[in-house]
């Protein structure tokens, strides 16, 4: 029997493991499994695959492994595991199932000198076949490190003595206590400490705090250290590390602006030294941190909403960013629409075509338009070009003409063909596309709402866009405030066009109990703030227990960010008893929103921000009475939900929402009257039959 030992550091597809074990057994091997993997996955694995032996390897890291490559971390966890050493001593084939397990196999193979050591299933099978061809496995020798490895391990341990000593002085129990942590922070604050020493201590204290499970203390130590040093590169690195760690755990750190400023200063310095690539990377990191989704998208507020201009100005003060944001314009104006042939319209986006179906459908069937559709995510080279955010910056700084050549090669054929390009979503592809002069092709970009809270509007060269389409006035205001180019002489024309929504199919007969069903369509983002809707329901049910809340749509994805996960967990906890009692119905995702809306008598918009809230508009068209929160991101501004929707639909608080619902629903007749009015308004304002004329005007320059 040939003994094969699988070593794994992460979950592998179980079917692949099962298949490999079957083939190895057919070849005369017995397979054992050792994994530094989750217990639940190991349980699933052993349910489906019968190994000779299985063993769970330790999963907790050693502290000294924190900054080591993952493979070394795995080895440090497992190196003293008795089961592993015993099995590895006699194994004939040691197999790493993933990259994290390779180093452990390498180390074991240094000790068991006769075993074959391979990476992957197919090589394992080959190794077993080789052994069979050689007449069987060799007898294992003594299980010990060769002298050379022992010496190199000793040398490494010697070099790590200072680190090890520092770690001894900052043990977990001490750092967990606030007194211990405070004592260790003293040298970070103390005057006269040499900068290099202060940084070294700062890093060690931060490491110790993270290790002790005090991440906010770790971030604080890094930020404090950064505040006391003058080296721009080190300052930027420390603050970026601190901020990144905070964002990772879903926290919006207080020192984001300091981190942004440090990175910008470092970018300016690098640019001054002619280091374009490094400068672009630093500026890109500043933008990523400054417009992080945890600060602006996965929260119920955003500093951009409070003061967009002021917030963005921190970037505009940087000379390097000024260079990036300098409009380069176009050599020729766009050619007028052709009179002698159909208009060539290139509709493009990157993956997200949710709002394009009806536009594509209309113009594909339009005799005066020839349509091509380009999904930039479907083409590897374009996907790579749109994903190279820092290269856009480097090109703008003057240090990457090759990037412009690449974009030229990728996009010029499309620009040469098209009379008009309609690019949906003002994100990476817009930044990429405006790297080059569009020639005489007219460029239209649509900006929905999400993009206003990202870094992209700071990076797009709007002087190479002819028409910028918004879905609402309040979004236009917000973006214009934060982007100087949009207020300058080369700014594009701006338009507000509603989304393409065929709403007539939504106008259906309501079910008899719809009057007491409050609906919320779309709950997959924190910005939808469904807890506000739950509060409305609570207050309503205090008055009348017949009211229920119907949630339509998929849940938030907890993997989006830790901030999202926090909100989702809180939300789930809140609604659990309400779901049990039947007060909340989670209807989940559906392809038939119109069908679901027949059960809904009131449609809510509980969001903190929206572009136009399609779910609300569809609900209104269906004859559900709209109840709209005055979206806090825009409330009180020149344009907001109050200017987008008719008077009476919008209110400030859950109490006012309840008042409106109860008043409207005082009688069935009143509810029906309000519903009819809402439906008529929606259909006459937002239905695609009406809005399509605006798109005709946009593309052709006249109504058709």
């Amino acid at each position: 029997m040939i003994d094969v030992l699988f070593i794994s550091s992460k979950n592998s597809p179980i079917s692949a493991v099962a298949d490999a074990v079957r083939k190895l057994e057919d070849a005369g091997a017995g397979v054992s499994f050792a994994g530094s993997v989750s217990e639940s996955w190991l349980g699933d694995l052993t349910d489906k695959v019968e190994f000779a032996h299985t063993h769970q390897l330790p999963r907790a890291n050693k502290r000294r492994a924190v900054d080591l490559p993952y493979g070394e971390q795995v080895w440090l966890r497992c190196k003293t595991d008795r089961w592993l050493r015993t099995r590895a001593r006699t194994a004939h084939v040691l197999v790493a199932l993933d990259d994290g397990a390779v180093y452990t196999v390498w180390q074991l193979a240094q000790r068991n000198r006769t075993a074959k050591a391979v990476f992957g299933f197919a090589p394992a099978l080959n190794a077993v076949r080789d052994i069979n061809e050689q007449g069987g496995p060799a007898r294992p020798g003594p299980f010990r490190r060769p002298v050379s490895l022992a010496l190199s391990d000793f040398g490494r341990a010697f070099k790590r003595i200072p680190d090890a000593t520092e770690r001894l002085l900052t043990p977990r129990p001490v750092m967990r206590r606030s007194l211990g942590a405070r004592l260790w922070r003293l040298p970070l604050r103390a005057p006269g400490v040499p900068e290099a020493l202060r940084v070294r201590i700062g890093r060690r204290v931060a490491e110790a705090m993270y290790w002790a499970g005090k991440p906010s203390g770790g971030a604080y130590a890094l930020a404090l250290t950064a505040s006391k040093i003058s080296d721009t590169a080190v300052k930027a690195e420390l603050l970026e590390k601190a901020a990144t760690k905070e964002f990772k755990r879903g926290v919006d750190p207080e020192f984001t602006s300091r981190a942004v400023q440090a990175l910008l200063a470092n970018g300016d310095r690098l640019l001054g030294e002619g280091k374009y690539e490094e400068a672009a990377l630093a500026l890109n990191r500043a933008l990523v941190l400054g417009f992080h989704r945890v600060s602006h998208i996965d929260q119920l507020s955003s500093p951009l909403a409070a003061d967009a201009k002021g917030y963005a100005e921190q970037f505009h003060r940087s000379p390097a960013m000024k260079t990036i944001m300098t409009p380069r314009g176009r050599l020729r104006p766009p050619a007028p629409a052709p009179a002698d042939r159909p208009l060539r319209l290139l509709v493009t986006t990157s993956q997200n075509d949710n709002f394009l179906f009806h536009i594509l459908d209309r113009y594909r069937n339009h005799p005066e338009v020839e349509v091509r559709y380009l999904d930039m995510a479907a083409q590897q080279s374009l996907r790579k070009a749109t994903g190279s955010d820092w290269r856009v910056l480097q090109e703008r700084l003057g240090g990457d003409p090759e990037y412009a050549d690449t974009v030229e090669a990728l996009m010029r054929p499309h620009l040469d063909w098209a009379d008009v390009v309609f690019l949906d979503w003002c994100v990476g592809p817009a930044a990429m596309l405006t790297t080059i002069d569009p020639g005489d092709t007219r460029i239209i970009v649509r900006l929905h709402s999400y993009e206003a809270f990202t870094r992209w509007p700071q990076v797009v060269d709007f002087s190479r866009i002819d028409d910028l389409v918004f879905v609402a006035e309040h979004v236009r205001d917000l973006v214009t405030e934060q982007v100087p180019q949009l207020r300058g002489p080369l700014a594009p024309r701006t338009h507000v066009l509603h989304n393409a929504m065929p709403l007539s199919d939504f106008d259906r007969e309501k079910t008899p109990d719809a009057r007491y069903n409050i609906g919320l369509v779309g709950i997959s983002q924190v910005a939808k703030d469904p807890l506000w809707a739950v509060e409305v329901l609570r207050l309503l049910r205090a008055e009348d227990e017949r009211y229920r809340l119907l949630l339509v749509g998929g849940d938030m994805d907890p993997r989006t960010s830790r901030a999202t996960r926090k909100y989702l967990n809180n939300f789930m906890k809140e609604i659990e008893p309400l779901v049990k009692s039947g007060a909340v119905l989670r209807l989940g995702p559906t392809d038939d929103v119109a069908g679901r809306l027949t059960e809904i008598g009131f449609i809510l918009s509980s969001s903190v921000r929206e572009g136009c809230h399609v779910g609300l508009m569809e609900g209104a068209a269906s004859g559900a009475v709209p109840v709209v929160r005055d979206w806090p991101f825009y409330a009180g501004k020149v344009h907001s939900a109050r200017t987008l929707y008719p008077k009476g639909w919008v209110l400030d608080t859950p109490e006012e929402a309840v008042r409106r619902i109860l008043e409207v629903n005082a009688t069935e007749e009143a509810w029906r009257d309000h519903a009819k009015l809402a439906s008529e308004y929606a259909l006459s304002t937002w239905d695609w039959s009406v809005v399509s004329a605006d798109f005709d005007e946009l593309f052709f320059g006249e109504r058709r």
Binding site: P13, S15, A16, D19, A20, L68, P69, Y70, G71, E72, L94, A96, D99, V102, Y103, V105, W106, Q107, A109, K116, A117, V118, F119, G120, F121, A122, P123, N126, S152, Q379, Q380, S381, L382, E402, D405, T406, A409, L410, P413
Partner: protein, 457 residues
């Protein structure tokens, strides 16, 4: 003014009454279990048949074990007069023997490979192969010293072969031709320029092509790209399609048995994305639910999946395993000698291809030659569609769309059961003009002629 390579004053093919000598840089020559092996084998055989002595330069068999494996049955049909020189070169990035790893590599395998790839490109601008340059250059110089060559033919990939061709041209003025197959400066998958003329790769390509006797590519769109990029070389660009080997064709040996379940098959290297595969499997699922004829049908995947540590165990295999309940299975690679027998068990073929108008693939010819119904799972304007146009049992090019592919599966099932022997024969006849032997014989003749013309100029 650049011109094709000439050997002024040198004794040409047939010097001193001897057979002329070809050095053929063909990394992927049998027994490598790669799709290019068939083309290379036929090229070498045709040169031999047309009076040349052929020395093939490739890499040791062990190297293919790391890649897509070896298939010794492929070697059986190599003309025994062909001399094969196997260089001790390996794809270090695909190494799976951990005893060959340095400690640094073992600790962080992927970063180590990234650094390796960067180093390789400093030698020649090609990842994974760039550092083979020195060994290939030395090999062709040595072979030429041992037995003077009259022509060098470089088959790409790897493109580093071009450096060796150039070296022999520079040092000994041995004329050379390039079998570019899918080209270099064209990204055949995305259908756009892969690199600009003034990039390092661009400069290499231009320099090489300016002096090449001839340039072969596998289809018209790629040829058009090269003719447009280098108008002055347009006359030297030739389309040499891949074609199929007559012995891979199963003939009409199998009758569909709907009671036992129709069998759809895919045979080839799995190089398409998991998203692409998911769509095909979704369409298969929909089709099985749509038509009773498919309710008990099976869908077999055969061929190489993944390389290096992931050989045979990539995410594609997981997707296929996950569709087991829908009659989908993966049976591993097929030896060349068993290809015809494998086709003979199937009732319809599923042609899953990446890319678009610049990709033809070798599979399409072999699939056509089976005479079986073909379901296309590729983009609408794919070059394979041009080759298939007129095939009586093809369900048409409908794009990578779930519903359209589901319809095509249903249509193919009916074609499998309802088609006549005449239709089957007509379908096989559609492939006749693409027999590899015919294509390569003509290509070799033309190249030899071009060489002669070059010499007399």
């Amino acid at each position: 003014m650049p011109g094709a390579a000439r050997i002024d004053g040198a004794p040409g093919p047939g010097r001193d009454g001897q057979r002329p000598h070809l050095i053929y840089l063909a990394v992927g020559f049998p027994p490598a279990a790669k799709s290019c092996a068939y083309r290379m084998r036929e090229t070498a055989n045709q040169f031999t048949a047309q009076g040349w002595d052929v020395t093939v330069v490739t890499v040791e068999d062990e190297s293919w074990e790391l890649d897509s494996g070896v298939d010794h049955t492929l070697t059986e049909q190599v003309d025994p007069r062909v001399q094969v020189v196997k260089l001790p070169l390996r794809r270090d990035d695909l190494e799976t023997d951990i005893r060959r790893y340095s400690e640094e590599r073992a600790a962080a395998p992927y970063p180590w490979v990234r650094a390796l790839v960067e180093r390789q490109q400093k030698v020649f601008p090609e990842p994974s192969f760039g550092d083979w340059r020195g060994a290939l250059e030395d090999a062709v110089l040595r072979l030429h010293r041992e037995r003077p060559a009259d022509l060098l033919l470089a088959s790409c990939v790897p493109y580093v072969n071009l450096a060796a061709a150039w070296k022999l041209w520079e040092e000994a003025r041995v004329p050379y031709a390039v079998d570019f197959r899918d080209g270099w400066s064209i990204d055949v998958i995305d259908g756009c320029e892969a690199f600009t003329k003034d990039s390092e790769k661009g400069r290499w390509e231009q320099r090489i092509l300016e002096s090449a006797v001839s340039l072969w590519v596998v289809n018209d769109p790629i040829a058009e790209h090269y003719r447009a990029r280098y108008p002055e070389l347009a006359h030297r660009v030739h389309v040499v399609r891949n074609g199929y080997d007559a012995d891979s064709s199963p003939g009409r040996t199998h009758r569909p048995d709907p009671e036992a379940g129709l069998v759809f098959g895919y045979l080839g290297t799995v190089n398409f994305s998991t998203d692409h595969l998911k769509l095909v499997l979704d369409a298969w699922r929909v089709a099985r639910g749509r038509d009773p004829l498919l309710a008990n049908a099976r869908f077999e995947f055969r061929g190489h999946i993944g390389n290096g540590a992931r050989r045979g165990s990539s995410p594609h295999v997981d997707l296929i395993h996950a569709a087991e309940d829908e009659g989908v299975s993966y049976g591993g690679p097929v030896a060349k000698a068993e290809v015809a027998a494998t086709y003979a068990r199937w009732d319809a073929m599923v042609l899953i291809l990446i890319g678009g108008r610049y990709v033809t693939s070798g599979k399409v010819y072999e699939y056509m030659a089976t005479g079986l119904p073909i379901v296309s799972a590729h983009s609408i304007d794919h070059d394979a569609a041009n080759v298939l146009a007129g095939h009586p049992l093809w369900t048409g090019s409908r794009g990578i769309d779930r519903e359209a592919m589901a319809d095509a599966f249903v249509q193919a099932a009916h074609l499998a059961v309802e088609s006549t022997d005449e239709q089957h024969a007509e379908a096989m006849a559609h492939a006749d003009r693409f027999t590899r032997e015919i294509i390569m014989s003509a290509a070799v003749k033309q190249l030899v002629n071009e060489l002669q013309v070059g010499k007399t100029q």
